[in-house]
Amino acid sequence: MTSKNIILHDMCLRDGMHAKKEQISVEQMVKVATAMDAAGVPYIQVTHGAGLGGNSLQHGFALASNEEYISAVADAVSKTIISVLLIPGLGTMSELKSAYEAGARSVHVATHCTEADTSPQHIAFARELGMDTSGFLMMSHLNTPKGLTEQALLMESYGANTVYITDSAGYMLPENVTEIITMLKDKLKPETEIGFHGHHNLGMGVANSVAAIQAGATRIDASVAGLGAGAGNTPLEVLAAVLERMHIPTGTDLFKLMDIAEDIITPMMDHMVRVDRDSLTLGYAGVYSTFLLHAKRAAQMYGLSARDILVELGRKKMIGGQEDMIQDTAMTLAKAKGLLKEAV
């Protein structure tokens, strides 16, 4: 067991944007970030839910630009480091540069778990800017431990100082996490850190994060009160309490985290972020957590069940970023059921 400090990275103001349909205001972000800073959270991620370049019809338009959010939060915090998400194919290096200029000093460069070779220019550029740079392998359950290790080695070779296993669908079980992180620990350079980003769709966010730490991960993404896509991220204050019981230091103030969850984040929620029929379907079927609200919307539009749409998306192996295929799939299902006319 490690007694090394575990770095907690809060996702409320990025993954949480998904659960809020990108409608968190600059003032709310400043309030949350100030409280996180006071509670000793070392890193917080601040961007549109889909990251840099995320403002779009595909992913929704936020209330402010990424630069506006980042610079407002940067002015408000003293110790907490601000990170951003960058998915190549959506975000670009010029957007990373302007995020850096606004105050971001850390980045998750995210690719689907088999496509790490779309990230070399972005990872190298982030390092050139002097940013703390993580490679972020989304939908990790869709690759084997060996395959994930190869992808992680690629990201390490591009210059990532941390590589994340990212359970975007909240599908993984602790034994999967243990196996993968153990292999990464063995193959990556000793100075490369390993991270884990969980979703709580099967209620395994905390257990998976603990398994990751026990296998050698030192960075854990979570969000206070779980505010995030699907059934939410690993609830950060719960993980902090568990780690405290395990005598694993995180440098955070547990009671302050509990207060943020209860007094600030929960009242911000538009719906209770929890395991329910649809978010459980995500975890069970291995579907990208962000698809949840889009599927609910499409279900309502065409008179279908969100669960049917999600299962079909899982069957068609749709991945993060293909939100357009939710409406498309719903329209095709609706046509098959006679609920929608054929195209002219």
Partner: protein, 304 residues
Amino acid sequence: MKKIKCALIGSGNIGTDLMYKVMRSEWLEPVWMVGIDPASEGLARASKLGLKTTAEGVDGLLPHVEEDGIQIAFDATSAYVHAENSRKLNAKGVMMIDLTPAAIGPLCVPPVNLKEHADKQEMNVNMISCAGQATIPIVNAVSQVQGVEYAEIIASLSSKSIGAGTRANLDEFTFTTSNAIEKVGGAKKGKALAIINPAEPPIIMRNTIYCLTEGEPDKAAITASILNMIEQVQKYVPGYKLVNGPTFFDNKVAVFMEVAGLGDYLPKYAGNLDIMTAAATRTAEMFAEEILNGKITLTPVEAA
């Protein structure tokens, strides 16, 4: 019938697929295939089909341009080397069709603006990107009916169809395509998103086009314009197909397309290769036709 002799530069996925299309052309004859790796599969295939090959890049081709009468070259290498390739070949009077995101010449989407470029005798035209070729005709079809404030396209591509060059340079793909949505599509602002999906069996290329119209969309006119445009594209890409839409929500028009390829080099799922190589072939044919009819004469471009 007399044909215009062509060189294919780049022996990767795009260059190899292009070779099969150019071979079938009534107007074009592929003579050279240029690569940089003597072990590349593309060069081996070209050699087997009777093309002359070199693994020494464009410099390996230059001494043969005059004796072999090369008049059109296709560049399917990368944005970084295209400018130099183009300069060298233009200086010998060879017209360039650029399949990289370099975009130093005017942007070309055949059913939208090819005729215009041929009339101007351009010596370098750029084919934008596969996503651009698959989506800009639809954006243009909408903007022919009414103003488009913003257009956004999402291209889903199978992992197996995306070569190393595109993977390492996704930003160039994004910038070139976004810019072309404005310049050629006619949208005031354009945005392009690309998703690479590794599913097995590989997914067929999908493209979603969203347009925000200025004012309430004229549904009937927009639908008719889109359907007409799809027919124009189908003339050179038979697998270009409407899956869902056009569907309207407030001032948003959404169109869901799929592109199946002909299966020349990669299997049918790789419609992204086909739409790019078919558009490039059609562009070259238009120029070839004009050259053969004596309407245009290619002249060497003085080096700056």
